[in-house]
């Protein structure tokens, strides 16, 4: 075991897989010589050469389209899109091509591409460096969508993603790259070194792309969340003085509804929290799926705490971000209802 940040864990996942499988290659803007703007690929080009860690032109559609072609020709590309906010020029390649290749060829072709991309706010990035577009991708049939909340899961899930026969869009919440963040920007930043999930094996292991994780067991209500907000939810539950069961969805598509439904049917109360906008957000799907599975067990309406339905405003980052107080207010509302 080693202590790793999320950046190091993600790098380690690619390192392990490149070592293990010569077909795994990495491509993206600034990923090679420079090692990536967030350093996730630092050292990989020196170790594996510039033919396997490839600097790309600034063309997200080109990166994803070329990755599809490489995958069709037998490679296992791990493409980095520098910010999730920059992924849209590649969206046609994801939706119309990547997601459907196996289906439309009756299983004759496939394109197991992994797309890694940093997402989320909290770094003063304004509307073009803060978005959480995961819900747009879970809406597309044929791609798996993942968002880890800690280094251990990040490495295990990324290895599973690279090994997956299906394309995976892998969102990395950049605010927690270097430490867990409980939603209070005025507190000194924490590091992963004191966190149990900062303990990461240096070798190969996987976390399956099919299982949600019960982060904290509890009985008052179930909080269903993922990414940065997992850490916010823990602090918010403490603030609200409740014994919450917190579930980290981890893999958004396909969704592990069984783990979630079992919990919600037991607690009878459910809060969903994510950083992305609310309307048609991933929380809406969670709400519907949980309602279908747990309706007769629910003692209160399912509550959602999310980013507001506006672009991410630079000056009001912490008014926009669904922090502890907003999540705690949501918890109280769920607890007081019914």
């Amino acid at each position: 075991m080693a202590q790793m940040t999320m950046v190091q864990a993600i790098r380690s996942a690619m390192d392990v897989m490149m070592e293990k499988n010569p077909d795994v290659i990495v491509l993206g803007e600034d990923v090679g010589y420079f090692g990536g703007v967030f350093r996730c690929t630092d050292g990989l080009q020196r170790k594996y050469g510039e033919h396997r860690v490839i600097d790309a032109p600034i063309a997200e559609g080109g990166i994803i389209g070329a990755a599809i072609g490489m995958a069709v020709n037998g490679l296992k590309p791990v493409a980095e899109i520098q910010f999730a906010d920059y992924i849209y020029p590649g969206f046609d390649q994801v939706v119309s091509e990547l997601a459907r290749i196996r289906y439309r060829t009756g299983g004759d072709f496939d394109a197991p591409v992994t797309i890694r991309t940093p997402c989320g706010g909290g770094i003063r990035g304004g509307q073009t460096h803060s978005q959480s577009p995961e819900g747009i991708f879970t809406h597309v049939s044929g791609i798996k969508t993942v968002m880890p909340s800690n280094p251990y899961d990040a490495k295990g899930l990324l290895i599973s993603a690279i090994e997956s026969p299906d394309p995976v869009v892998f969102f990395e919440p950049k605010r927690i790259y270097h430490g867990p963040f409980d939603g209070d920007p005025d507190k000194p930043a924490l590091s992963w070194s004191n966190h149990p999930k900062g303990e990461v094996p240096e070798d190969y292991y996987t976390v399956p792309l099919s299982k949600a994780d019960i982060v904290t067991a509890g009985e008052d209500l179930t909080i269903v969340t993922y990414g940065t907000i997992v850490h916010v939810a823990r602090a918010a539950a403490e603030l609200a003085g409740v014994n919450a069961e917190i579930i980290d969805v981890r893999t958004l598509m396909p969704l592990d509804i069984d783990t979630i439904a079992e919990s919600v049917c037991r607690t009878g109360r459910c809060l969903i929290a994510h950083e992305a906008t609310r309307f048609s957000g991933y929380g809406a799907e969670l709400t519907a799926s949980i309602q279908e599975a747990c309706f007769y067990y629910l003692e209160a309406p399912i509550e959602r705490v999310t980013g507001w339905d506006t672009p991410y405003p630079h000056a009001f980052e912490w008014k926009y971000f669904p922090g502890q107080k907003r999540v705690a207010a949501g918890i109280r509302k769920v607890m007081e209802a019914g």
Partner: protein, 413 residues
């Protein structure tokens, strides 16, 4: 991959620790090219896209048929704008390093592009800027205090706190909103120019992007539309050699100049010394007149060098030689204009220093004023409930509900 890879990987001429080498640039002396008539047929203009238009020669004299013959007073004003931009950039860079603003992008070494082009365009011509076009905002009348206030996201911020620093716009100055995404402005410029043509106006649209951004699909969309409709637009590629850590070869600049990108579509290209403000002015005037007379689009490549980091978020010494800019054969655009003015007897080193001192004071004074409208740590503050405005022209009920929710949370504090 058991066999040896045959993939071509572009390599920059020099990485950290190596000697800078610009032998790939293909330079030509000032005055080497004729200035074709405005209505020349496109196929007669091919050499402009592979050559290099320069006016200022090695003795700092303006020579050749592209010399725009600008009077000395006007050139002194150009120098002032360029120097103001540099001093402003220096101050804002420092402000970011002091934690006063969250992010910054300077235009160090590229000031001649915005100023030379600003001078050549008419006020009614519309600009679709990149994030390194700050000099254009200054030239077109945006006050220092307003640019600074935008960077501070304060109560005077033109973007009402909604954008990262440097994402300016100027409705009165006819400059569209800077986007954080790359190349998106290029098709906008073409569409604006198409509208001008539809409306029968003689305005011209212009846009800018970097060498790296030419890889984006929007660059190619823009060129196609511009060519198909012969839109009155000037499309500029500011080739500053570097896109964060990747050199211009990663945008396909290894074999043919960016100016030649439009030739296959019949768009004339001009490759110009981007650090020669006279040459930039001259080619822009030529392209603008051609567009105004129905001659369609022109693609201009400005050969320049990104003198600083890409932004406050990267350290260029990690991916290119530290002294590379000093070795750049086209020099520093401000020094070159200064030396020209001295050579023709209309400037001196003393005057230059005095101007620099004066501009520093002007910038410092503006910075003090800007901060009175609020900083990241001190009020006055923008009203957070206004973040729900302008998502739609009329705020729909679900956003009004969210606004009320925010206000209730604020009251609890």
């Amino acid at each position: 991959m058991t066999k040896k890879s045959r993939l071509h990987i572009p390599h920059p001429a020099a990485r950290p620790g190596e000697e800078p080498d610009f032998s790939y640039l293909q330079l030509e002396p000032a005055g080497a090219h004729a200035r074709p008539p405005i209505d020349a047929r496109t196929r007669e203009l091919d050499e402009l896209s592979t050559g290099l238009i320069r006016v200022l020669d090695d003795e700092h004299k303006a020579v050749g048929p592209w010399d725009p013959d600008i009077d000395a007073a006007e050139l002194q004003r150009a120098l002032r704008w360029m120097l103001l931009t540099r001093v402003f950039d220096e101050r804002m860079w420092q402000a970011q390093r002091q934690g006063r603003i969250s992010f910054y992008v300077q235009s160090l070494g590229e000031e001649a592009v915005s100023i030379g082009q600003g001078m050549a365009l008419r006020p009614g011509d519309m600009c679709f800027p990149s994030y390194r076009s700050q000099a254009l905002f200054l030239y077109r009348g945006t006050k220092l205090v307003d640019l600074m206030s935008q960077c501070l996201s304060n109560t005077r911020d033109m973007c009402k706190g909604r954008q990262m620093p440097i994402m300016y716009h100027s409705r009165d100055g006819n400059i569209f909103s800077v986007s954080g995404n790359l190349a998106t402005q290029y098709p906008h410029a073409v569409g604006w120019a198409m509208a001008a043509a539809i409306k029968g106006e003689d305005h011209v649209a212009t846009s800018w992007l970097g060498d790296g951004s030419t890889a984006e699909a929007d660059f190619h969309h823009a060129l196609t539309f511009a060519a198909v409709y012969q839109a009155p637009v000037i499309l500029n590629v500011v080739n500053n050699q570097w896109a964060i850590s990747t050199f211009q070869g990663f945008a396909g600049g290894e074999r043919r100049p960016f100016a030649a990108r439009g030739l296959g579509l019949g768009i004339p290209g001009i490759r110009v010394d981007g650090n020669d403000v006279l040459a930039v002015y001259a080619v822009t005037l030529w392209a603008a007149e051609r567009a105004r007379r129905g001659g369609g689009p022109t693609l201009i490549e400005h050969v320049t060098y990104r003198g600083g980091a890409h932004s406050t978020s990267d350290d260029p010494s990690k991916y290119r030689p530290k002294d590379e800019w000093a070795a750049f054969p086209l020099g520093d655009p401000i020094d070159r204009l200064k030396d020209h003015l001295i050579a023709i007897g209309h400037w001196s080193e003393d005057k230059h220093q005095a101007l620099r001192d004066e501009l520093k004071e002007e910038v410092s004074a503006a910075w003090k004023v800007a901060q009175t409208y609020g900083t990241m740590t001190e009020g006055p503050w923008l009203d957070p409930s206004e973040m729900f405005d302008d998502v739609f022209a009329e705020t729909p009920p679900h956003l009004e509900a969210q606004r009320r929710q925010l206000l209730e949370l604020e009251e609890e504090d």
